[in-house]
Symmetry: C2
Subunit: 172 residues, 2 copies
């Protein structure tokens, strides 16, 4: 008995993307209650040279799509990267979840040894196996950005708990 690549990827990303979307709902409610522009939250950073909230959310979706899409050999959906409101970010998350759910176990299972070469925006090229891409790179990066989005909002005073971050396991 072992774990399938599908079970280690799609349902996990979907669980935590749903958590991230719910976290953004609480951010929107906080902004309304405090009468602050949501854009203030979206542009908040924990350090001047870290991504603001809006880019943490984009990066989380990018890692989910990049991992599952490449494992499946599917065309990767792209976004405008101009989302500037909470509803636009939630829409990006929803489209990401739709894409992940469109992938079938048969497309992803068996991809652990697949050779995957990624050219990063910097021009650097890195080679992965399906397993190393998922476990050593994409999931940790995904969690990094979901957590930092949560941390930024906690730092802003939004009332969130770990349970919001965790979402709810999904059966797929």
């Amino acid at each position: 008995m072992t774990i399938s690549m599908y079970q280690a990827s799609v349902p996990i990303f979907v669980q935590f993307l749903a958590g991230l979307s719910a976290v953004l709902d609480k951010a929107a409610a906080f902004a309304e209650a405090k009468k602050v522009e949501p854009s203030v939250l979206l542009s908040t950073r924990l350090s001047p040279d870290m991504f603001p909230l809006v880019r943490q959310v984009r990066a989380a979706t990018d890692h989910a799509i990049g991992a599952c899409g490449r494992l499946a050999g599917a065309e990767l959906p792209t976004f405008s990267n101009s989302e500037a409101t909470i509803p636009e970010l939630k829409d990006r998350i929803a489209k990401t979840v739709d894409f992940l759910k469109s992938l079938k176990p048969g497309q992803i299972d068996g991809s652990e040894g697949k050779e995957i070469k990624i050219t990063f925006p910097s021009g650097a090229v890195r080679e992965f196996t399906g397993q190393s891409l998922l476990l050593n790179n994409s999931l940790p990066n995904f969690y990094f950005h979901c957590t930092t989005a949560y941390d930024i909002l906690r730092h802003c005073g939004v009332e969130l708990g770990k349970r919001d971050f965790m979402g709810t396991p999904v059966k797929l």
Copy 2:
């Protein structure tokens, strides 16, 4: 082809615990250069009702030990939970890595369907399978605390990059 429970757990936790230990080295160097007490960093929180850095590090080690130890059916090592310095936290991380490395693939592989019941400090009892404990709970919590430790230090001004968080994949 699939992924083994061992490969999805021990080498991953070891990679990111090594990253966390190196992040603490940079925190120590920062404190020395800036002539601030390291305890100031260790007691920093992103929000008054979040754990300070010292507890983020403890929680990260707890999730790594709790997952791998329970999957293997091994006795879980315990700590004093009184660590108050960076060297003490690094020692806790090192002992955690030693424990994880002491577990053999044969103890963990095949544990995905194992029934695991956990009584939390609150008294709540939750039931998991080995797979749900690892993928839906322990790894996300582990990454949450490693990331928040990193985020706290970035917020304090420590010069860190994502590469420090990521550590280096290990062959085990």
